[in-house]
């Protein structure tokens, strides 16, 4: 579990990036920090691996204040995946993945074996191992980034808008990939995003931030969708524009038992099953997230 206790970050010029921020991030779940740019979400995330040190307040991982940990050692135990992958352009895919294990003293052979395993986990062909980042597509680079993040088998993964630079089709694939990997590995993931759809898709817990790292609302996607706490949240999730309020289209003919759904603006957004003219009820627990081995054990993140 990661815990923020009234954390603030004020820069030397007096700008307050984060003010009095408190949050509990449960172990083995995905927590998405979502907000527009300038909301301090990345700053908050970077406090976990001491890339940013708070001006006041404490950040604790399993009850240990990170300020007492040596930054380099701390970072080597936490996976970090960033936008534009952040790969080393002069090193091959394999060398990029083995970078951190090699720093921590893992033997070359072991690191390579593990890297090949990880390439399989993130869906990369073995034949790409000797390529250089510039020879890969953006989506492949991001996959390498994820593999590198997983290389030291960390309990915590920090993901800083990892998919915002890839196109929507690839982003979709990568998001599904994250859910699949999470179902398998059950890490404590802190995911920063400005895309509310991404947040709702990935987050077990979604935290909506406003300027200065103020939490406007936190909860499951369902809770936030059902009850936007403020007008800001309503606008942010698109409820205000009627994007989230769907009605059955009356003009479009039915396709068997299916009906076309339109949003508040009249745009078609999906299909709903209506056997015998009655709408079906579903359980708002995505299959990908209900994983039996995900338990909140103390001391594992």
């Amino acid at each position: 579990m990661i815990e923020f206790r009234s954390v603030s970050k004020t820069y030397q010029d007096g700008t307050a990036a984060v003010e009095d921020f408190s949050l509990e991030i449960p172990a083995r779940r995905i927590t998405v920090l979502v907000g527009s740019s300038g909301s301090g979400k990345t700053t908050v995330m970077r406090m976990i691996n001491r890339m940013v040190d708070p001006t006041s307040g404490t950040v604790e991982i399993d009850g240990v204040d990170v300020a007492t940990r040596e930054p380099v050692q701390l970072r080597r135990g936490i996976g970090y995946i960033m936008q534009n992958s952040g790969l080393l352009p002069h090193r091959s895919v394999l060398d990029n993945i083995t970078t951190v294990p090699r720093l921590t003293g893992v033997s070359k052979a072991d690191a390579r074996r593990r890297a090949f395993e990880l390439m399989e986990v993130v869906g990369l062909e073995r034949s790409l191992a000797d390529r250089y980042p510039s020879q890969l597509s953006g989506g492949q680079q991001q996959r390498v980034g994820v593999a590198r993040g997983l290389a030291v088998d960390p309990n915590i993964l920090l993901m800083d808008e990892p998919f915002s630079a890839v196109d929507p089709i690839v982003r979709d694939e990568l998001q599904q990939e994250v859910l699949r990997i999470q179902a398998e590995l059950a890490k404590t993931i802190v995911f920063v995003s400005h895309d509310i759809d991404e947040a709702f898709l990935l987050g077990d817990q979604v935290v909506v931030l406003e300027r200065g790292g103020h939490i406007v609302q936190q909860g499951t996607p369902t809770e936030i969708l059902a009850n936007p706490a403020t007008d800001f949240v309503a606008t942010f999730i698109g409820a205000e524009r009627g994007k989230r309020r769907l009605v059955v289209s009356d003009s479009t003919p039915a396709i068997g038992d299916d009906r076309v759904l339109v949003d508040g603006g009249g745009y078609p957004v999906g299909i709903i099953a209506a056997p015998g003219g009655r709408l079906e009820a579903g359980n708002p627990n995505p299959k990908s997230r209900s994983v039996s081995n995900k338990t909140d054990q103390a001391g594992d993140a």
Partner: protein, 294 residues
């Protein structure tokens, strides 16, 4: 013609060997003197300028001071400074070396800090975030990526130093400049021209060799591909440049021009996913809206 005479003067085998003096130009001895003082001066300049430049590039601090100091050093009147130092220290190699070092530092410093500074900040940030120490960032990330510009700075330094050794010859120091000084004094224009040619050819040879080195350490994006290609070429007995065949980045060492071409062809180095973006653009408008493409 004087040019032909100068070439003949250089090609005269007797002019190369023996000790200098009594009408013997002793080109080999002068070459040794030129290279000797140059190697020492360049080495000192590198030892001073590279760590300083890397430090400035890595921390981003002290850049203004470095630029200012470099410009001042560049503007120093070589001959004047040399005269003063010779008067102060005495007529030996030390003041000459000091002047050469002072002139050699600015380009090396500029190459070092510009090279390190040009490394993508995101790459460095990522290296730090995964747990590299500052030293590891410098040695394993910044230096390899700055290698090309570092060698570029080194090239400029070497040329600057070798060219300036000729000035030092005015003060009882040997080197190729002695032919210019003696030639002028003796109205021997053939000797003067020969001296000028010798210095120029030496500079061109060294610069050419360093240009090859610079290409070899260049962006280092595809060293494996390069090694294989060189091995293959050696095995096939090729000596000249191979006729280019095929396309794609692995074909040869990545130059800036190629980089631009590749960008034009739609491969971006910054992780943008152009081909797929093109795929999206071909979709119908409602389909694009559905997947949220803006």
């Amino acid at each position: 013609m004087i040019f032909v005479q100068a070439i003949a003067w250089i090609l005269d085998g007797g002019h190369w060997v023996g000790r200098a003096g009594a009408g013997n130009p002793a080109i080999l001895q002068r070459l040794g003197e030129t290279l000797g003082i140059s190697v020492i001066s360049v080495a000192i300049a590198v030892v001073i300028a590279v760590p300083l430049g890397v430090l400035i590039g890595h921390t981003g601090r002290g850049r203004l001071v470095a630029i200012l100091a470099s410009n001042v050093a560049r503007a120093l009147p070589t001959l004047g400074l040399l005269s003063i130092l010779l008067l102060l220290i005495g007529i030996n190699a030390v003041p000459i070396a000091i002047v050469l070092v002072l002139l050699g530092i600015p380009p090396m410093l500029a190459g070092a800090y510009a090279g390190v500074e040009a490394v993508n900040r995101d790459t460095i940030d990522a290296a730090r975030a995964v747990g590299m120490t500052e030293w590891q960032i410098v040695v394993r990330v910044e230096l390899p990526l700055a290698a090309s510009l570092l060698v570029g700075g080194f090239r400029a330094t070497v040329l600057q130093v070798i060219a300036t050794t000729t000035v030092a010859s005015a003060f009882a120091f040997g080197g190729f400049g002695i032919y210019l000084i003696n030639g002028l004094a003796q109205n021997d224009f053939v000797q003067m021209l020969a001296g000028a040619i010798l210095v120029t050819v030496l500079c061109l040879l060294i610069d050419g060799a360093l240009a090859v080195v610079q290409r070899l350490v260049a962006p280092r994006a595809f060293p494996a591909a390069r090694r294989i290609r060189l091995r293959r070429r050696r095995a096939a007995g090729h000596s000249g440049p191979r006729p280019s065949r095929g396309r794609g980045p692995s074909r040869k060492v990545c130059s800036h021009e190629e980089d631009l071409q590749r960008r034009d062809r739609g491969h971006r180095r910054d992780g943008g996913d152009r081909p797929d973006a093109r795929r999206v653009r071909q979709l119908e408008e409602p389909e694009r809206r559905r997947i949220g493409w803006r």
